[in-house]
Symmetry: C2
Amino acid sequence: MTITGEMLIGARSHRGSDGEFRAVDPATGAELEPAFGGGGVAEVERACALAWAAFDAFRETGLEARAAFLETIAANILDLGDALILRAMAESGLPRPRLEGERGRTVGQLRLFAQTVREGGWLEARIDPAQPERKPLPRPDVRQRHIPLGPVAVFGASNFPLAFSVAGGDTASALAAGCPVVVKGHSAHPGTSELVGRAIQAAVASCGLPEGVFSLLFGVGNPIGTALVTDPRIKAVGFTGSRGGGLALMAAAARRPEPIPVYAEMSSINPVFLMPAALAARAEALGKGFVASLTMGAGQFCTNPGILLGIDGPDLDRFVAVAVEALGGSAASTMLTPAIRAAYDSGVARLSGSAAVATLARGLACSGPNQAQAALFGTTADAFLADPALQDEVFGAASLLIRCPDAAAMRTVAERLEGQLTVTVQMEPADGDAVAALLPTLERKAGRILANGWPTGVEVCHAMVHGGPFPATSDSRTTSVGTLAIRRFLRPVCYQDIPAALLPEALRDGNPLDLWRRIDGVPGQE
Amino acid sequence: MTITGEMLIGARSHRGSDGEFRAVDPATGAELEPAFGGGGVAEVERACALAWAAFDAFRETGLEARAAFLETIAANILDLGDALILRAMAESGLPRPRLEGERGRTVGQLRLFAQTVREGGWLEARIDPAQPERKPLPRPDVRQRHIPLGPVAVFGASNFPLAFSVAGGDTASALAAGCPVVVKGHSAHPGTSELVGRAIQAAVASCGLPEGVFSLLFGVGNPIGTALVTDPRIKAVGFTGSRGGGLALMAAAARRPEPIPVYAEMSSINPVFLMPAALAARAEALGKGFVASLTMGAGQFCTNPGILLGIDGPDLDRFVAVAVEALGGSAASTMLTPAIRAAYDSGVARLSGSAAVATLARGLACSGPNQAQAALFGTTADAFLADPALQDEVFGAASLLIRCPDAAAMRTVAERLEGQLTVTVQMEPADGDAVAALLPTLERKAGRILANGWPTGVEVCHAMVHGGPFPATSDSRTTSVGTLAIRRFLRPVCYQDIPAALLPEALRDGNPLDLWRRIDGVPGQE
């Protein structure tokens, strides 16, 4: 499949005329062909009009048809073959195994949502049958299901050119919910985006769905994104990216005549608590494991461990010694874009320039453009508590160790943390009481709590939460990974005394869809 | 129980010194004793500090203990006996049977949430067991439950001094979720609020809960509300009231360093579609039924039918003739407050002064202070489409009939409606196709769709949705009535490879709480 540099608006390809841009291979600094034409207000208008026109039909597709659509997208992505991997490697600087793994995850995620759609639990069907004899007033027949919100704007993320981009988790869950999707592709990987977009576009056509179910726009600068979020036909927004970007989208959405939900996954420093018995038992292994997690993928994960906490003493010193050695020997690695690399450098400079922060180790020197050296810094609990800016995320392989005088100080620091995607506890059974005392705080701070693992790597499953209190996300009530993500794009509707023939299938007597439903509040498959 | 005019801050009573106010009996205009002292920033600070201190303990109360707490509140409210009814009558102008019914609903709602808490489905426990042998990477053990957001600010509504006030649906669902509640009592019924507040305060004490689980504040003007919504320890807001009030709270919440969800139920004109066969079969009964629904409780319901649509012709004329006669004979009735009565009068004046609107009928003249005359207005579909202001809610017994030339015009008007709490269709089997054509639009517009009933009267049950797209509410993804309302105050947290001893009970192997859980995505009681 040839990459043309066009946008995909419904069934058509369309070359934008609002500026031109090319992807850059971060490993070489070379511009990649072809040039992409940026879209503007006219393209947003057309994509949103098509999405709106498609909405009522798409949201009432049968469960099987919608599941088959998601599976067709997955198959089409696999059919792109090595061309997709090669283009994604050139546009991201990420190595082949990582991108092959990410493709597997992306396809697996689409298939998991297909299963979820088929099972139908997300409809949350509830039936409270009429009680015509009830006194003093009869009870009406009341039935509830969930319906999709409407067309969704999805912003592709830079750091997962497949799994959090055009056919990533936001798109998969919105389509699963029955929402048409308009993607604003990330300018760092437009070729990858176009290839995946064409895979979705072809699935829309071969499944006989209305063309407006999917569009892919490109644009130079912020205006196209603002136009998309403020279009009255867009009813929700999915975003993974910087705090500044997420806050701007939240503000734009709140200013609309009709405000809409924004699901922005923004920033997280993913604290790791090194408990005393764990340090005593395996300081060296922890030091190595930590550096491996920190430097994986040049540290470009939302769940990268950006803060470590431990109680001062010889065991922590052993951990630090190993971590310093491992990190000192870690190769510089290519970051996704020059802008991300520049932001990393400035974040590292901010920390290394702070009087309260010591530089413990740097990775090996850079040997090519857009490479970054890993960095490990150290500070004290008091210094950390005194300077809120030490909580600012440095996106990349940089982490800050906070030496705490005792367990109480560790809890104090925990209580002062901002909202996080994850918190990790490294512990042994002897740490049980101390962890139990920490847990209530950790639950209030994060969407996911791990023991004895590393936060990088997010399992796509039913129980996953990739979310958390602000500023980790804009909406702690949800997750952007895992099957619960479908709920972000749904709302309940109830039907009171509606004649049987007009009821949606999910709510009919006899349970034709074989759903789990609540009848008078009691769950069952009736 | 004596009404003292004090606020309830945790276990203590506290007389505010920031202004003084008294309730007014709207039926007489007389001020009622005692005087209430308004609170300010200091009282907000103390109530929020106590709520925060109570949060971790309260959220981990067992299901049975929390359910018993809700049932104790219900029992304590009943124990207030006739004193509560008499005070609520004096403060609201509402008649005894209405308030006795509302008390029954309030108590029933608390008990329904107690059942809901016990059943535990709201925890939404999910377990994806580890797969240590999985290739290429082992799968961790991932478990998810929902936990409460944190302390919730609840604003009492004027129009349901019991069911949407101090111990109303917002408070009941927030407490059920495990959130401490700080209520800002409505100044129209402070005595009723104090009585109910003391019932809750006593339940907190007798159930051995931390005192901060509940506080009740009063205040003159908006500053206390703003202080409450912007307090960093408040994590969500429940509000029922005007659009202006709701928008102000949304803006204040969005401006916080940490934005929080606001559940504001604001305005709805609850359109009623009079379908042709229904008009042909029962125009007269519909006319009478409509006026009864419109004038009930002086029209002071969020679900009052403020718009009617019908296709022009002799059947619609018959409906109008009966409605005009019934409404013309309807007694003026006392509104809740002088301000509400003044707003009603100005809304009616706006409609009657519009060149595009005809006054079809007015109710009987007023015979006392704060009374309002019902009003029925008429206009055309074209005029309605030309003037968006005709959609503005007139809170009270006023309604606007829109004569449509045909079914297509009816659908056009439907498509232009703002978001609603309810839409109603009066239909016969012969209207089935026309209603089927309308339904997709109605689903997009409202939280509840009724056939052959009237929207006033909201059943408190499992399947109810009292919510809807903006501006009916600030968040269409939820309901403020019915058991699903608990979800507003919850967020998911997941536990990865957490040792068994540290897992919350809801997620332990062996299912000690006997919950419905999803294991590997499959629902069951294991």
